[in-house]
């Protein structure tokens, strides 16, 4: 009967094979996982900036002012964007972005520390002719880096 024990060489060989198999698998997990995260964050930032720009187009001209970096989750209701147009008295059935009403989205925003900010430049040409250049910034944290998405819109008083 063949009942010999395992030699050190066999054990090392098995380990080497295991490592050779695991390294590409883990790197594959790593790359694809990071890409999914980046894509998800970028899509959310772009969608949020677009939604804010739509709101700016619709809101009163004089109400468009600078806004420092504001967390999207758990921020006080500033009657402006937070919580992304879901006002407390909204009749559309939308909910506020907090842990109790929208836990999934709240967790996502909290995890990545999504913030938005507005930088408004107002130019008056006289006779009521004014234009506001508004820079919309969406910032978030991604794999240890601070990311930013920028877009600009121009709103005329006329």
């Amino acid at each position: 009967m063949n009942r010999r024990a395992l030699s050190l060489t066999e054990v090392i060989l098995a380990l080497a094979i295991a490592v050779m198999v695991m390294v590409p698998v883990t790197s594959m997990f790593s790359t694809s996982g990071q890409q999914v995260q980046k894509s998800r964050n970028f899509s959310f930032a772009a969608a949020l900036a677009r939604r804010i720009s739509q709101h700016l187009m619709a809101m009163p001209f004089e109400d468009i002012v600078d806004l420092p970096g504001q967390s999207i989750h758990d921020a006080p209701d500033d009657g402006f964007f937070n919580p992304v147009l879901n006002f407390a008295n909204d009749q559309s059935g939308l909910k506020r972005i907090n842990a109790s009403e929208m836990p999934t989205l709240h967790g996502f925003l909290e995890m990545n520390d999504f913030k938005y900010a507005l930088s408004v430049s107002n130019v008056s040409f006289g006779a009521g002719d004014e234009i506001k250049s508004i820079a919309i910034f969406i910032t978030w944290k991604e794999t240890g880096r601070d990311m930013i998405y920028r877009t600009h819109i121009y709103v005329s008083s006329v």
Binding site: G69, A135, D146, M147, I148
Partner: protein
């Protein structure tokens, strides 16, 4: 001959008391250490066995198996009487897996006795065959190679039994037997028998059988446990050669085990019919896969346990790590500190270039300057662009716009200098070469103007720049080049009628259109 009931009753009581006494002595014998025949209680047991000799058949069938075996060992030396008793004992006790004590006692029997009295039961299906095979393997009984073919033909084999059967092959004969079995397999017609052959050969060839495997016992076939001496007193005597239980088949001379090897070779069909094969094959099919897997694992785990364990640990560790690292972030709140300072630099998610706070501040002025440009307020715009450049001298678009404003304000020299700085920083920006060409035209530097026009056309390759270059070439006397360029542009824009401008038309405006 007429029986006397009173005499039977007396004999019966006498036998019971003797058996009870013998059981007690045997129990004492078994509790003593040392070689069986040298234990202090052995002579007493032997004397008790002799006194029970007239009731030998009853003793063998009614005492506990190990007590009965000691009775046989103590009573008779090797011979036909002992063989008969052993056969009766095996027939009775092979329905349940014997204890290790009983197996140790069996080792007192010679190989010849085991072959003659135990091995014939291997032919039987059910528990007897399986347990007989197991006992033979336990007792290291080796058979002649030709015997295995008879066994394999006799019945349908469970894999555990085949494993035990393989242990009856002498190691030095296994290769030859494998070769012999291989040659026999094609000639076996019955599929189930053939399967047994193949499996037996595989187990033997791969040395899968290392130790006797505990047989699978059908509980429905097991007998009741032996009756205790106290119970015996309350029961009726069992006649010699009668079955100990009612459901057991009566001993039949034709079915009694024969010597090994036996020239009896039951036909597979008969075996199948005898064993009620459809039911048996169904249960075999259901359990075959699991049994096969279990046995393979048992045999291979000693070889593979370390590398498999290490690989398993590594794999599990990696899985845990990656499932943690890439798990849904929503499920693991990781709140950043509330009072964290604003970063001084971000990574632009579109261009993946760093964006500083200084750049953003300069960009704000630049955007305001752009607004003034929409109303052609170049002086105001220039101030804002220069403010932007004060904050961030590397703001290339603000630099270019400041040059444009200076060009529009008539400061060609400063504008040209700014545009050259822009080109030095990035030669791929649109319109810079065009402005420089126009400035060179106004300064009557035709060579520089042509160079900048051509650079701009090479960069943009569009119709307005092409037309301006063609007009410039025509004006400077390069009619052929101008016509050639017009033809090329006409080919690219077939829907338009392209002609060279008159001299009045070709006079470049101050600064041209806004890029």
């Amino acid at each position: 001959m007429r029986c006397n009931p009173h005499t039977d009753q007396v004999q019966y009581r006498s036998m019971k008391s003797l058996m009870e006494e013998f059981a007690r002595r045997t129990q004492a014998l078994l509790s003593e250490p040392g070689i069986l025949e040298r234990r202090p209680a052995w002579p007493v047991v032997k004397a008790g066995a002799i006194s029970l000799a007239p009731f030998a058949d009853s003793v063998v069938t009614e005492l506990k198996p190990d007590h009965a075996l000691i009775f046989i060992l103590a009573l008779a030396n090797v011979g036909s009487k002992r063989d008969l008793l052993l056969k009766a004992l095996f027939k009775r006790m092979l329905t349940i897996v014997p204890s290790d004590d009983f197996v140790r006692l069996l080792s007192k029997l010679s190989q010849a006795e085991l072959k003659d009295n135990l091995l014939p039961y291997i032919y039987e299906t059910g528990n007897r065959g399986a347990i007989a095979c197991y006992l033979a393997a336990k007792l290291q009984v080796y058979l002649a190679p030709e015997a295995f073919q008879y066994f394999l033909n006799a019945r349908i084999w469970h894999q555990t039994d085949l494993m035990n059967l393989c242990l009856l092959v002498k190691p030095e004969e296994s290769k030859a037997l494998c070769a012999h079995i291989e040659s026999v397999i094609p000639m076996v017609e019955h599929p189930h028998i053939k399967e047994g052959y193949t499996e037996f050969r595989n187990i033997l060839f791969n040395h899968l059988a290392c130790e006797p495997v505990h047989p699978e016992v059908d509980e429905t076939q097991t007998e009741k446990s032996p009756v205790s001496p106290a119970q015996l007193l309350a029961s009726k005597p069992t006649p010699l050669h009668e079955p100990s239980t009612k459901h057991e088949k009566p001993v039949d001379k034709t079915s009694e085990p024969n010597k090994i090897p036996i020239a009896r070779q039951p036909e597979p069909e008969k075996v199948a019919a005898k064993d009620n094969r459809p039911a048996a094959s169904d249960s075999q099919a259901q359990t075959k896969a699991s049994r096969s897997l279990n046995i393979s694992l048992q045999e291979s785990q000693t070889k593979l346990i370390i590398p498999l364990g290490v690989i398993g640990l590594l794999f599990t560790g990696c899985l845990f790590y990656f499932s943690w690292y890439y798990s849904d972030p929503l499920a693991m709140p990781n709140t950043p500190p509330k009072n964290a300072r604003a970063p001084q630099q971000w990574i632009d998610s579109v261009s993946m270039r760093p964006v500083t706070a200084k750049f953003l501040s300069a960009d704000k002025d630049y955007r305001m300057g752009e607004l003034f440009l929409t109303r052609d307020k170049f002086a105001e715009a220039l101030k804002l662009f220069e403010d932007a450049l004060t904050i961030d001298p590397d703001h290339l678009q603000a630099l270019m716009r400041s040059g444009y404003c200076r060009l529009k304000l008539g400061d060609n020299k400063a504008a040209a200098e700014i545009f050259r700085r822009v080109l030095k920083k990035n030669s791929g920006i649109d319109s810079v070469n065009l402005y420089l060409a126009r400035i060179s035209m106004t300064e009557n530097n035709l060579e520089a103007a042509e160079q900048h026009y051509r650079a701009e056309y090479a960069l943009r390759n569009d119709l307005p720049v092409g037309l301006e270059l063609a007009n410039f070439l025509a004006k400077t006397g390069n009619q052929n080049d101008a016509m050639e360029l017009i033809a090329a542009l006409q080919e690219k824009n077939p829907g338009k009628m392209l002609v060279l401008s008159t001299e009045a038309e070709t006079k470049p405006e101050q600064g041209g259109e806004q890029p």
